[in-house]
């Protein structure tokens, strides 16, 4: 069969006059296509419908009517349909005859038309075929080899005669004159019958249509409700149209809404996503059915890599990529160079050694095929397996490892091996043919090791093989390394110190130390062996006349370490100035000038200044610095905070160490402790505070000063605050009670305070002096005034107490005075004195110097007096005026005893006097004596 060149399009222009059908939109892109050479065989039933094109139109109309008339039209309609059916058959016969006649006149060159469907992969047969194959033979093509030929092809749904596809294809002439065209239907071909007709045309002529060739659907003879497609696999994202073939006169209940034949209903295209469950149910009364399909992806395998592990077979590995969502017999199957693979990501085939080989992996599932290839010489792809049965033979500083290979082919393979020693790759690799043993050197004595071995091909290294299992071994003990020895001079003693050996230095379990003291002068030697855990040895200092050589060795089961030697001078030179050293970021930094006689570097020694523990000394040896003029040392970490250290630098010489520099300081200063012995003394308002310094062990830093806070007692209000450097301070305070808080401070902060309270008062002497001075001054002033007054008494009298002019009496007047005296037995004796004056000057003149004074005494019961006196003034009217008047009328000294007496009368009388003259009367209440304050100097001698 010749190849086809398909083109979608309309018929040639001249065909426009022909009656045309509307062509349904093509949806074949939405449907899966299967290779043309599928194993599926011919399944078509070729039925020749000898209907002409125009009759087909009639048939289609009738089919539509049939489709609409199934639900029980009235009898009239049924009769009409029967008539139309009869007419259709008649028409078909008539036009068949006409068509036959036309064919006889213009013979159709297309013959041997065959239709067959091909089904995709599915487990069960009859699961739904989508591709319709059409083959035919063009007998004209045999004679016109160079003529381009085109064919118009129309596909119809037979029962309704609905055109579902038309196409014009252009083909090159082929001697065989057989042609093949395939079409993918939007619905399974089983859903209903499909018919095909063709016609040939070239540049000059248009042939006649062939008769309709029909591929029968299952709706013709299906015995029960059937759904298509079923059990098929669709790509994720596909739109699938299902059809349900029901029994005659039955209608599906849901989803299958579009009727395409008498018994067939289809759904709208259903889009399926990756996670959708593709089950569909065709519910028909009495006979339901359903279909399950599979939504999946084609194979997505990648990265095929083939290697050999035993030099005789090849293992090919690949990555499966995206999940296909297919399982069971639908899942992806693999073949490697034509051989089936059982696993999904690995396949083993025999290797053709020493040849470049191409490996082809074909991954296939119902949705597609993916091919992966890899090409290589297997000897260049050697991936060795792990060495097995690894064993060891360990010594103090080396170990031998042995292993076996389980693959015979490795025996002749040049290989390179690598060791993982305690988690680190050993820095040496080992080569050899079929290598099975190695020796690891430079190991640490008395150390546990783990080792693993892996190997690779030496000639064409591809990758390291698998690691062997881990083997563990311990190296044996060896003699310890030399210990680090130092000497420390204290005030009384000399001590030899040495540092404990680390695990790496001890090379085993240290069982003790051995010290040898040699005196070169007398060649004496003393050996001390029983020093198991001791790290310090006091050397009794006698009056040695020569230096002594000290040798220290550590001991383990393998023997003694090389001795460490130090020389103790007979006269240690330890006198240097001590300077203060400041910390630097929590550490000490010392620098010193290079000592020209230093032969083995320097030693920096440090120890707590105030802790006199003999062995609490640390040191560090610094190698010689050849180029720099200054050496420096920085120590951090091991130095405690707030502790004062003495740091010394020694030069290491062939002789005893030479002290170069000594300093004291704190690496990190902290808050100091409390000041002690805080005392307060006051002299008047001056207060003197003094205290003792913080003890050296508690200073925790360099004391920079003291903070003195003065508070009013009972209050937290700061009255005064002073920062001073000396441990005393003078304060001048106002009188009051004060609390003093004193705290020291360093750069590390302020320490706790010590407190004391004191009351500040004024001085007594001052008070006495002020009193005396004041009194003296007042006395002096009084005396002066007295003297002056005495001398000037006449003037003063005249100024202050002038002579009172004689009263000028214009008429008779009475002056009354009342004198009351407390009597016994509750009585008060009162006297009333009266002064009578003349109204007329003549009369007054006659009486000048002889004032008439009458005095009336009357004894009044005190109770009565008290009573009347205490009563309100409203009772003034109590005293009858007539009686008093009668008394006044009698100027003689006749005594008249008043029946009653009222003080109000006294007031009246007094007031009357006031009208006459100043000053106001002096009424002495407590003596119950009311006296007239006015005592004229010309009064009677009794008054004087």
């Amino acid at each position: 069969m010749g190849g086809l060149r398909q083109s979608r399009g309309t018929f040639p222009p001249r065909e426009k006059k022909r009656p045309r059908r509307m062509i349904a939109p093509l949806e074949e892109d939405n449907f899966r296509k299967t290779a043309a050479d599928s194993s599926c065989g011919f399944k078509a039933v070729n039925t020749l419908y000898r209907n002409s094109l125009s009759c087909g139109a009639v048939g289609t109309t009738q089919a539509d009517l049939i489709a609409n008339g199934e639900t029980g039209e009235p009898l009239l309609v049924q009769n009409l349909l029967s008539s139309i059916m009869s007419l259709r058959i008649l028409c078909a016969l008539l036009f068949s005859l006409i068509a036959q006649t036309e064919q006889d006149g213009h013979p159709v060159p297309i013959e041997e038309v065959k239709l067959y469907s091909e089904e995709p992969y599915c487990a069960s047969s009859d699961c739904g075929a989508w591709v319709l194959n059409v083959t035919w033979r063009d007998k004209f093509a045999e004679n016109n080899e160079y003529e381009k030929v085109s064919y118009d092809i129309v596909v119809l749904r037979t029962e309704q005669m609905t055109t579902v596809h038309n196409e014009t294809i252009h083909v090159m002439p082929d001697k065989t004159s057989y042609y093949h065209w395939k079409w993918t239907s939007p619905i399974p071909l089983q859903c209903t019958s499909h018919s095909v007709k063709l016609r040939r045309h070239n540049e000059h002529d248009v042939g006649e249509w062939t008769p309709l060739y029909t591929h029968e659907g299952q709706d013709i003879n299906a015995a029960k409700t059937t759904i298509y497609p079923r059990d098929q696999v669709f790509m994720v994202g596909s739109n699938v149209t299902f059809c349900c073939i029901v029994e005659t006169d039955k209608v599906p209940l849901s989803k299958f809404l579009n009727r395409i034949s008498n018994r067939t209903y289809i759904t709208e295209p259903i889009p399926y996503k990756e996670s959708d469950v593709p089950n569909i149910h065709c519910c028909v009364e009495g006979n339901s059915s359903g279909s399950s399909v599979f939504i999946a992806y084609p194979p997505d395998d990648q990265n095929l890599t083939c290697i050999t592990r035993n030099l005789s077979s090849v293992e090919c590995h690949w990555e499966t990529g995206r999940k296909t969502h297919l399982h069971g017999d639908k899942k992806t199957s693999y073949t490697l160079n034509g051989r089936d693979c059982k696993l999904d990501n690995k396949c083993v085939i025999r290797a053709e050694t020493k040849q470049v080989t191409k490996w082809t992996l074909i991954a296939k599932n119902p949705l597609g095929v993916k091919t992966l290839t890899d090409t290589a010489d297997p000897t260049h792809r050697v991936w060795l397996r792990a060495p097995s049965d690894i064993s060891h033979d360990a010594y103090a500083r080396n170990v031998s490892l042995w292993w076996h290979w389980n693959e015979e082919n490795y025996a002749l393979l040049p290989m390179i091996c690598q060791v993982n020693l305690s988690g680190r790759i050993y820095n040496e690799t080992f080569n050899g043919v079929g290598l099975s043993s190695i020796v690891l050197k430079n190991l640490q004595p008395f150390v546990k090791y783990t080792a693993q071995v892996r190997c690779g091909s030496l000639k064409h290294f591809y990758k390291w093989g698998d690691w062997s299992k881990i083997t563990e071994f311990s190296t044996k003990e060896d003699i310890p390394e030399a210990v680090d020895v130092w000497i420390h001079y204290s005030e009384q003693n000399t001590s030899v110190l040495w540092k404990p050996l680390t695990q790496q230095q001890s090379h085993g379990i240290i069982t003790g130390y051995e010290i040898t003291i040699e005196n070169p002068k007398d060649a004496s030697r003393k050996i001390y062996k029983e020093l198991n855990t001791q790290l310090c040895y006091n050397i009794t200092s006698g009056n040695e006349e020569s230096d002594r050589i000290i040798r220290v060795s550590a001991k383990n089961s393998a023997g003694l370490s090389p001795p460490s030697t130090i020389i103790i001078p007979s006269y240690p030179d330890n006198e240097v100035d001590i300077s203060l050293i400041s910390s630097s970021n929590g550490s000490f930094e010392m620098s010193w000038e290079e000592y020209p006689y230093s032969t083995c570097g320097y030693v920096v020694e440090w120890f707590p200044t105030y802790k006199k523990t003999q062995c609490a000394v640390e040191w560090k040896k610094i190698s010689e610095c050849d180029t720099c003029a200054f050496d420096s040392w920085n120590q951090s970490g091991a130095i405690k905070e707030g502790v004062r250290y003495t740091v010394s630098v020694y030069a290491c010489t062939d002789d005893s160490p030479k002290l170069l520099k000594r300093s004291e300081g704190y690496a990190i200063e902290k808050q100091p402790g409390k000041v002690e012995h805080l005392e307060a003394k006051n002299k008047g308002r001056n207060v003197e505070l003094s205290w003792a310094e913080v003890p050296l062990e508690q200073q925790n830093g360099f004391i920079q000063g003291y903070k003195v806070i003065t508070l009013l007692s009972g209050s937290e209000t700061i009255n005064n605050m002073v920062l001073i450097k000396e441990p005393q301070v003078n304060l001048k305070l106002d009188p009051g009670s004060y609390t003093f808080r004193v705290s020291a401070f360093t750069s590390g902060g302020e320490g706790d305070y010590a407190a004391t309270t004191m009351k500040v008062e004024n001085s007594n002497d001052q008070m006495i002096t002020a009193t005396i001075v004041g009194c003296s001054a007042a006395t002096l002033v009084f005396i002066i005034i007295t003297v002056l007054c005495h001398r000037k008494r006449k003037w003063l009298k005249k100024l202050l107490y002038p002579d009172i002019p004689e009263p000028k009496l214009a008429g008779k007047w009475i002056t009354k005075g009342i004198y009351c005296t407390q009597m016994t037995e509750g009585y008060i004796k009162c006297e009333i004195q009266e002064v009578h004056g003349l109204e007329h000057p003549a009369m007054s003149e006659s009486l000048h110097g002889l004032d008439l004074i009458s005095s009336n005494s009357k004894v009044v019961p005190a109770q009565h007096f008290y009573k009347n006196f205490s009563e309100s003034p409203a009772d003034v009217s109590y005293c009858p005026v007539e009686k008093l008047t009668s008394v006044i009328e009698n100027p003689s000294y006749n005594m008249t005893i008043l029946d009653s007496f009222d003080v109000a009368q006294i007031f009246d009388l007094t007031l009357e006097m006031q009208d006459a003259y100043l000053p106001a009367p002096n009424f002495v209440q407590n003596n119950f004596v009311v006296k007239d304050s006015y005592k004229p100097q010309s009064a009677s001698p009794t008054n004087a």
């Binding site: 059990d231 089950n279 399909v293 969502h325 399982h327």
Partner: protein, 197 residues
């Protein structure tokens, strides 16, 4: 009755009570399993036609409780076999990824095994009965995946049914068991001819 003599009256009643509770629990889980399957496969909730797959004589009132238990034990045994077929086939044909349905399915299978062992102890004198299965799995191949799913639904429906029957029977059993004869009556034995010793 061996079981009776070993366990005693009260022991048997206690064991029957525990078996009834187990059956009740399993019945609920079978309902949940069927619901999970229908939801995961978007299948209609209406029962699948065709009746129960496992076929036994009707549990008429004339049967003693012991005979009923014997029959139900046989039905449950077939249910377990069908469920294991379902598991095997599902894992072959469909996704074997973990899901709530898969976990519940395993739970039901394990518990059904326990229920069978528990009901076996209630059998009198080692009575045996063989139930029939109308449609085996092999017959579903031709009907495709959808047919297989429908068959799975039917198996799950059977599980619900027979565990429910067992639960109901066991719940009403203890009082009855005291009165029940220690051996099957002749009438019953004739009626349930398939019961073997």
């Amino acid at each position: 009755m061996a079981g009776r003599s070993v366990n005693g009256r009260h022991g048997l009643r206690g064991h029957a009570g525990r078996t009834a509770a187990l059956a009740r629990l399993l019945h609920k889980e079978c309902i949940q399993l069927l619901e999970l399957y229908r939801n995961s496969e978007s299948l209609p909730s209406s029962p699948v036609d065709g009746g129960y797959l496992v076929s036994v004589p009707p549990l008429v009132p004339q049967l003693s409780d012991a005979e009923k238990i014997c029959i139900l034990h046989a039905a449950l045994k077939e249910c377990l076999r069908l469920l294991e077929d379902v598991i095997t086939r599902e894992d072959e044909e469909f996704s074997n990824e973990d899901s709530e349905y898969k976990r519940k399915r395993k739970t039901v299978r394990d518990r059904l095994g326990h229920l069978l062992a528990s009901t076996e102890q209630l059998l009198v004198d080692g009575q045996k009965f063989e139930a029939k299965v109308k449609e085996e799995l092999d017959g579903q191949v031709a009907s495709g995946s959808f047919g297989l799913k429908m068959w799975i639904v039917r198996v799950l429906q059977d599980l619900v049914h027979w565990t429910g029957q067992t639960s109901d029977t066991l719940r009403s059993m203890p009082a009855e068991m005291e009165k029940a004869p220690k051996t099957m009556s002749r009438r019953t034995r004739r009626g349930a001819g398939k019961i073997k010793k």
